[in-house]
Each structure stands twice: as C-alpha cells, then as structure tokens.
Symmetry: C2
Subunit: 401 residues, 2 copies
C-alpha cells in the first residue's frame, strides 16, 4: 500500500518523540508499505516564531511571516530523515517546494493549487521513505507560502490525493473521533468509520481532531483518511465515502458548541431585502452566521433569530447599530449552547428529531432554536444544560453500544 | 554606494539586537546607499540545531544537516526584513536559493561556484533593501547546502564580488583588527587599513575576526572589506589591496598562537624523499604542518623540526610511529608559543628581524625556531614568555603610536 502519514506538533514535540515517530514509520515500512511522511513543526515552535515576528510589527508582512514559519517544518522533516537513515532505511526530507506543492499567492493562508509528483514518485520508486515538511508550499514564482491553521493536515491530504495513495493517516494525540466528547460523557465510544459529511458536521461543532478544510479536501480528492494516536496502537477512525460504510447507525455522534451567541431581532420591517441587508452587513464584517430562524411576520413585521461565534459579539453589535432604527429591539444572549445530533442514517429514519425533543423535555430542558439538515439536527439550549443534554442524547441513541 | 553588510550571530542574537541592526541598516540607507544585508542565525541557534541532529546519529547525513541548519538564517533574514518594513523601508528577505547562490555538492562545507545576480539587481533597482540568509546556497540541482564555518562572511564577500559592490562591511562584536591582542597588550591599537596578505597572516595566527577563506575570496574578487562592531560607531578596519594603502608601516601587527606543538626528529636518514614521506603521511592524516626547519646534515643524517596544531598531537604521534625505525628520536613539545611579526613594509626594510631577535634576547627569551616570509617573521619560544614577547615586540616596533 502507498500510505501518506502525517504527524502533528505534539507527536514530534522533541527529539525523543521524533525518534518514536521514526519507529512507527519503520513498522509501517516493514509491513511492505511505500511511505510519504508529512511532519509539523515541533509543538510550540510555530508560536515561538510567530512571537518573534510580532516583536517587530503588529502586522508583519505576510510574505516574511511565511519565510519565518516555514523554517519549523523544514527542521523536523530533516531530523526525522536523519533518524530513519540511522535505523538503516533510505530516507530523504523535502521542503514543500521540493515536494512539488504549488499554492496560490495568499501568504499565511495559501491554497494548494497543484502538486507536481514527478520527484516524489521517482524517490518512492527508489524505495525512499520521503519525509515532507508540512504546512508549506511555493507560489508559481517560487515564493514560500504557508497554508494556515491545520496546514500540515492539508499537505498530507493533498499529497495523498495527488499520489492516489491508498490511505492518509493523520497522527495526533487522540485516538480518533468519538461519539461525543469523552470528558462530558465517559461512555463515549470511538467511531470506527464515519462518512466525510458526518465528519464535517462533527468537526464544525468542535470535534477538533481535524479541521473542515482537510476533510473537505479528502472528500473532493477521494482520500481515505484515518485519524489515530501516535502514542498508542489503537485503531483510529476511518473517514471515507458514505458508500464505503456498510452499516450506518442512525446517529453517529453528538456535538457540542459552547462558543456561540444568539442574536434576536424583534419586529423587523417585513419588507423584501431587509434580511439580506442585515446578513450582508454581517458577512462583510466577516462574521460567520450559523443557525437562522425567522418567525412568520405579523402586522407586516417579523422576528429574526440567529447565532454567531461568541468572539464576534462586540463586532456584531457594532455592525447591527446601523439597523437599530428599523427594528423594535435587538437582544444578545451568549448564555447558550448548541447541541447537534449527526448521522447519515437519519435520512432514512423518521422520528429521530422527535426522540431528541422528547428526551430533552423529560429533562426539563427548553429548546430555544432548532435547525435541521439531512444529516444533522441542531438545537440551542441554555448553557448550563449543555452537559446534561449531551449525556441524555448520547444515551437516547444508544451510542455507548 | 552599493554596500553589502553582514551581521554575525551575536549582532542578531535576539529580537532587540535585530531591531538595533535594522536601525543601523536604515542609517546607511539614509546616506543614499544601496544595501544588501547578509545575516547569520541568532547566536546559539546553529549549535542548538546541530545538537538536535546529533541526538539521532553520531554522523547525521550531511544533506539533512544542511536542511536543518539553513533554517536558522532564513528566520533572521525574514525577521530583519519585517523590522525594516515596519520602519517604513522596502525590504525583502531572500534564502540562499533566491539570492542566486549556487554551490558545489559538498554538503556542510560547500564552495560557492557562482551567483546569479539577476533577481538581486532587479530588487536593488526597485530600491529594496535585500536581506539575504547567509551561510547557505543550493546545488545546481536545487539541493540546499551550507558553507561551513564563517559561511555567512563568505556569502557576503561573494555577493559583494558578484554585485561589484563598493564595500563589504562585516559587523561583529569587536571594533576591527588590532596591532595585537588587546587583552595581552592594552596599548594595542586598532588598524585603520591593512592589506589582504597581512590580514591573512594575522588571521591564521589567531586574530579571529575573519576566517582566511573570506579574506582569500575578498582578495580574489577584489572586494574592499571592512570589519567593525555593530555595537558602536567606531570606524573599523579596511582590508584592501596593497596598492590602495598609501603609507605602509614597517610592521602592522604582532600575532600570537599558543595552540601549536613542536615536533623534533633527530638524525633522520639523509636520503632523498624521507622528508616527503614524513610530510606526506602527515598530510594524508589531515595534519596541518606549519613551520618547518631542517638543519644541515652531518654524517649523512639531518634534524627536522616542525610545528603542528596542538590538538593534532596524539594523531601525529600515531602517524610518526611508522618512522621510528629510521630516526634516532622523535620529541614532542607543546610547551611553546608562536609569535609572528607581520607587515608588508618589511619587504623594503632590512633589519626588522634583527631588531626582534635583539629585543627578545634582552628579555632573556630564547628563540627555538625561526621562519620568515616576505611579510612575516615567526618565532617559536617557550609558552611562559608569550605575553612578555608580545608586549616587547609591540613596543619595539612602536605599534602603540
């Protein structure tokens, strides 16, 4: 099998850990696999380097920030190659440039445009373990870029796609994706297989194992993604096409997001375009609006409720000041939590939502907002009930089994 | 003027110091100069990175070592560019690759083969301050290389040569080249101008400001080299062509080397080729033989005295074991010091040596070996007299004036 492995900052946090990664790489190699290994910078290194740039400027030039940040991954990739060579294996480190990763010119958050795999394939054919510095590429003109948060995951997924690898393994310090946060519900179980779409819904809700950018790219490039721990040998979670999963549970997982706030606008003029104006203004201010509920208008007026990230609260208040004249009142409420039930199995099963509503009602938890999609039901409740709701729903759908 | 400035590891040792370097660069820019600035890694950084590589292997693969080490200079170059931009100047950092520095393939001690200055000249024409990561280049195939000890100085001198810069300023933590070590003779004076050849003799004797590789390259490329401190505004020392210096003092400086050992071989068979055999064997073992004195043979035998670096003493003993049969005795003596008088003015002045011998005799210092060249007189004396000899000679040639 051709496998792309990716080891995050914690996994390569110091020399001992890099040595441990080398051991794991070799174990996979010994099973007869061809290997491309993508590494992050040692944990803390990127923050340290970023701190340096901030010493000189509040807004350091992004081209130069990329030149600074890209150094971290170069170091770990070469160190891992040295460790592998010392163990008797042919290994070589490649910068993003040498790995053929070409991006657009958006420094510090570049998008991968294409990967020229010629040199990579040449090295793999010669039986090299190829260690690639993650998080980085070059523009067509050869300027170094970095890919932003979760960038090394992206490097790995993109390389797996370009090389048509059989598997892309993302190693972190957690075992995989869980049915819910095990710190809230100790009975939470690791999920063996999950579809890209379910993972996207879980990830956006705070299951921090993988950022959505990587899952989206994996879906687009048809990459079989496994997330697992580099600190033990537990099987991880396979994220793959829906069709690859034989039996779908109705509900795959319960997600929690405590970092949202609710905005309630009362008696908005019920004229065409007013909602568009409001959401347009928020979008221009880069405020990500999530759940939107609009109640039927009475007396030519309507109520509008939606959620925003809590950190954008002040920003939102500033933007909405402009609309104060045309509405009765605007209320802000950050004492809320969003609980979501995710599962592709829902599509073919009615009554999933009803069971959730009933279970929460039995716990005397008031549901303040509801929004549903084909594979997700999200509910806004009071913050203090968040953990209780998670445990109740986890049990209702028997996810501990 | 087009000036290449180079700042060493101590000068860019932390963010405050990089900020200080930015100020100095700007001062020079404000005088109307075009500037290329070469920087080393933050002091300690290269050793830290080298330490990492040694964690994994006693002999880490040199290609990978270069990948690791080159990261340090990339970081400082970008940080300096950020600092300069923040001060309102157009600045851009370039890796060795981007600066067009092409080397041979000898990883960790590569030699610069050529510099493609197209991009550099383009940036200078656009009034950019170009900050180049020192110590590194790439092979023709694009593999990253490093230039070995003193590599950033080499980068600077080579760039100055290729760009036909008016000046190459090497900034360190000392004011320049002194007539002798000021820690031994407080009356030592900074030299304003010195020829390449004199500098080469002084440097090889332990005036550690510049390595000979850089001075040799400056001589070859006709680069006017200035060495000065980045911590004050004292004028430094200009190292240039002999012809550029109007008035030569007879003696420019007194150098001391305490790290030599003397080897005395008594009654070597006086047959052709025996000396060649001995020095051939030493050369093969990479032992650098310096002063050589051979006394006239008697009874078909001859005595051979020479000096070697003290650290090579054990190595030398091992090599010379093979010759024990063909000589009467081999003595080793590391209780010595080599004192050298350097000056191009000597060429046209007789009696320089005689004055030295007389002065040392008056101090009761016995001269054990003498060797002379056009611009240098070296003498081996007992180690304990080293400082006294330096002070005496410094005064004899009135270098304090």
């Amino acid at each position: 099998m051709l496998i792309v492995q990716k080891y995050g900052g914690t996994s390569v946090g110091d020399c001992e850990r890099i040595q441990n990664v080398a051991k794991r790489v070799v174990e996979s190699k010994e099973k007869g696999n061809s290997l491309v290994v993508v590494v992050s910078a040692m944990s803390g290194e990127t923050d340290k380097l970023l701190g340096y740039t901030k010493f000189f400027s509040r807004l350091p030039k992004e081209r130069e920030v990329d030149m600074v940040l890209s150094a971290g991954e170069r170091v770990t990739s070469a160190l891992l190659a040295i460790a592998l060579e010392e163990m008797g294996y042919k290994a070589i480190s490649l910068s993003g440039r040498a790995a053929g990763i070409v991006t657009d010119t958006s420094h510090t958050k570049a998008r991968i445009e294409e990967i020229d795999t010629t040199y990579l394939n040449e090295l793999l054919a010669k039986d090299y373990i190829v260690v690639v510095a993650g998080f980085q590429g070059v523009t067509e003109k050869g300027e170094v870029t970095t890919l932003g948060r979760g960038g090394s995951d992206l490097s790995a997924v993109a390389l797996a796609g370009a090389l048509q690898a059989d598997l892309c393994e993302i190693y972190t310090d957690v075992d995989g994706v869980y049915t819910t946060d095990p710190r809230i519900e100790p009975k939470a179980k690791k999920i063996d297989k999950i579809s890209y779409d379910e993972m996207l819904e879980l990830a956006s809700m705070g299951a921090k194992v993988l950022l959505n950018r990587s899952v989206e790219m994996a879906k687009k490039l048809n990459v079989n993604l496994v997330t697992r721990s580099s600190f033990n040998y537990n099987e991880g979670t396979l994220i793959t096409k829906e069709e690859e999963i034989m039996e779908h549970p109705i509900v795959s997982g319960i997600a929690l997001d405590k970092n949202q706030a609710r905005v309630s606008i009362c008696n908005v003029e019920d004229r065409p375009g007013i909602a568009a104006e409001i959401f347009g203004a928020l979008s221009e201010a880069n405020i990500n609006v999530d759940m939107i509920v609009q109640t039927i208008g009475r007396d030519g007026k309507t109520d509008l409720d939606f959620t925003i990230p809590e950190v954008e609260l002040e920003n939102t208040k500033r933007v909405l000041k402009a609309f104060e004249g045309s509405v009765e009142s605007i209320d802000y409420d950050s004492d809320i939590a969003k609980v979501s039930i995710v599962g592709v199995g829902m599509k073919s099963h009615s009554g999933v939502a009803a069971r959730a509503f009933q279970a929460l009602a039995e716990d005397n938890i008031n549901i303040m907002m509801i929004s549903t999609s084909e594979i997700k039901i999200s509910m806004v409740i009071r913050l203090k009930y968040a953990e209780l709701a998670i445990r109740t729903l986890h049990s209702v759908y028997q996810l501990e089994k």
